[in-house]
């Protein structure tokens, strides 16, 4: 019994250390957004200040870079999520010739190093005489995000009961109304997770973007360029700000799901007979 407890403590201690390892650099990033640094460098702690938070967009190049990143993320996320969701539907819900091959093909970009993806795409653009910039970044981001969306939505679809859709069609719903009113609401959490993942990957991508950016500067490209002469604290402010926004959104999502779960629970409790309700949320 004591051995068991000791082992649990050891496991817990190890886990705490592992989480600290993950977390320390992030804490440092947030902390140094409040650093009252002298001159250009933001390397040593020199006192607390809110001044960088007051003017996060003081550097116009940084502001433009962030604007570009957010615009690219929004456009590429919408396209990749739409394309990927339909692909996942086809791969899970329909038996057809070539399904195995399509499955493997979608998996391939995930198994290819980013530097190879980026270089190959740039070589194609060079050969075709396409000038690189905003549009080619969007194209590249959609390309690497499609596979992530397919994998995420597929996982959701595989956990779903296909009989619900069959029931809707047996009751006379057409292909489209089954999709819009049964399938889509059921996979919505998976699609939302996929879109969030795609947006995060797009905003964060440096390697593939650096090959296909031309003269366009994104947030990661700006940071990489700044590492040579010292990253300005405004970068810490914007990075921390993005993190806080995501955390708040995730918190709201948890609250929403909890409320929905309670409502569903009440609804099922209220039914006269027990119904094998499909999993939602």
């Amino acid at each position: 019994m004591t051995w068991d407890r000791l082992r649990t403590w050891l496991l817990g201690g190890w886990s705490g250390l592992a989480l600290a390892y993950l977390f320390i650099p992030i804490v440092i990033v947030v902390l140094f957004s409040f650093n009252n640094n002298k001159g250009r460098f933001n390397f040593t702690w020199q006192g607390f200040t809110f001044k960088h938070w007051a003017h996060p967009f003081a550097d116009p190049d940084l502001a433009l870079a962030l604007k570009n990143s957010l615009a690219i993320a929004a456009i590429s996320t919408v396209i990749a999520t739409a394309l990927g969701t339909f692909m996942a539907l086809a791969l899970v819900r329909y038996g057809f010739r070539g399904r195995g091959a399509a499955d493997l093909f979608v998996f391939l970009p995930l198994a290819t190093p980013e530097v190879v993806l980026g270089a190959a795409l740039l070589a194609l653009f060079l050969t075709m005489n396409v000038s690189t910039g905003f549009v080619t970044i969007v194209i590249a981001h959609v390309m690497f995000n499609i596979s992530y969306v397919v994998v995420t939505v597929k996982a959701r679809l595989e956990g779903m009961d296909p009989h619900v859709e069959e029931a809707a069609q047996d009751l006379g719903a057409g292909v489209w109304s089954t999709f819009a009113r049964v399938t889509l609401p059921m996979i919505a959490p998976g699609v939302a997770a996929a879109a969030l993942l795609a947006a995060a990957l797009s905003v964060d991508d440096y390697v593939i973007t650096s090959f296909n950016a031309g003269q366009t500067i994104t947030f990661p490209l700006f940071i990489y360029g700044a590492t040579r002469q010292g990253v300005p604290p405004e970068v810490n402010v914007l990075a921390s700000g993005l993190l806080f926004v995501v955390l708040i959104l995730m918190g709201l999502n948890v609250l929403l799901q909890r409320r929905r779960a309670r409502r569903d629970h009440d609804a099922v409790e209220g039914l006269p007979i027990a119904v094998g309700a499909p999993a939602t949320g």
């Binding site: 993950l22 650099p25 692909m87 791969l91 190093p113 190959a120 194609l124 597929k154 990661p220």
Partner: protein, 291 residues
């Protein structure tokens, strides 16, 4: 008549769903790779341009010129993958079976790095490991580091950076596969007089293998091709194959060598995956990756 047309429509539907996305991947993933294979066989120089000529010697020259960086990439990525497995397995195990109501908070902490920029976090490591930083100072105080000893710009820093950056990719699949393990099987084993250790070794571990496999791939593949950690936390003495491909492509404009190195990298990755799959006895690659 109506039923037939409906059935036809149902048969066409998957292709219609698959089409647009598949087309995108075809044009912007497969065609570029094919083009890259074509480029790798070209010969010439940046001034005069390159022409195609079944020039296979680019591969052998690239291999003999850069085998150091190739081997180093696999060494660093291999060490980082093993370290990640050692760090993440107890963590995933704790979250899956012992964390109780802290489960969701701990999972949130694991995905948190995804919401801070990769580059910003790596720059943060630069700051933590810098020569006049707190960590180096304390290590010198206790004598673990000589007075001129450094952490930044060393092999240790690069490997630590890679290990750090890909830790969540190891921890999450491990957690998912451990979470699926039916605890009653472990209880059955202990009821049948298996010791805790034996039960873990014979029941839990084999059931968690798909997660080990998926996590290792998700860590190893991006780690092998990574060049950010070597560029920001190391010196040219720590440069990996990604640094060479990037420089060849963007600075030196030696496209054939960059393309050849890309294929050498992918070839060795494929070989490593197949060997690893055989060693773990995983039946289907995609099955494990989906886990």
């Amino acid at each position: 008549m109506l039923r037939l047309s409906l059935r036809r429509r149902r048969q066409l539907l998957p292709y219609l769903f698959l089409g647009p996305g598949l087309l995108w991947l075809l044009i912007f993933f497969l065609v570029p790779l094919a083009n890259q294979a074509y480029v790798s066989l070209q010969t010439g120089d940046p001034e005069a341009g390159y022409v195609f000529g079944w020039h296979f010697s680019t591969y052998t020259t690239a291999l003999s010129d850069y085998h150091t960086q190739i081997l180093r990439s696999f060494g660093y990525a291999g060490v980082a993958t093993v370290l990640d497995l050692v760090i993440a397995f107890p963590l995933a195990y704790f979250i899956a079976f012992k964390a109780g109501r802290f489960k969701n908070v701990m999972l949130l902490l694991i995905v948190m790095p995804f919401f801070t920029s990769y580059l910003v976090r790596t720059v943060s490591w630069q700051l933590i490991l810098s020569d006049n930083g707190w960590v180096v100072g304390r290590l010198r105080d206790v004598g673990l580091l000589s007075s001129g000893g450094r952490l930044l710009a060393t092999r240790t820093a690069v490997i630590a950076g890679i290990t750090y950056n890909f830790l969540p990719f190891m921890a999450l699949p491990l957690y998912v596969s451990l979470e699926k393990v039916d605890r009653r099987l472990v209880e059955a084993a202990t009821d049948l007089y298996a010791s805790r250790t034996t039960a873990f070794r014979k029941v839990t571990l084999p059931l968690a293998l798909p997660g080990v496999f998926a996590g290792s791939l998700l860590t190893f593949i991006p780690a092998v091709g990574d060049y950010i950690n070597a560029a920001l936390l190391g010196t040219p003495n720590q440069y990996m194959i990604g640094n060479v491909i990037q420089a060849k492509f963007l600075n030196i404009l030696d496209y054939p060598t960059a393309a050849a190195l890309s294929f050498l990298l992918m070839g060795v990755i494929l070989l490593a995956i197949l060997l690893y799959a055989r060693a773990l006895g995983t039946r289907s690659l995609t099955e494990a990756a989906a886990a």
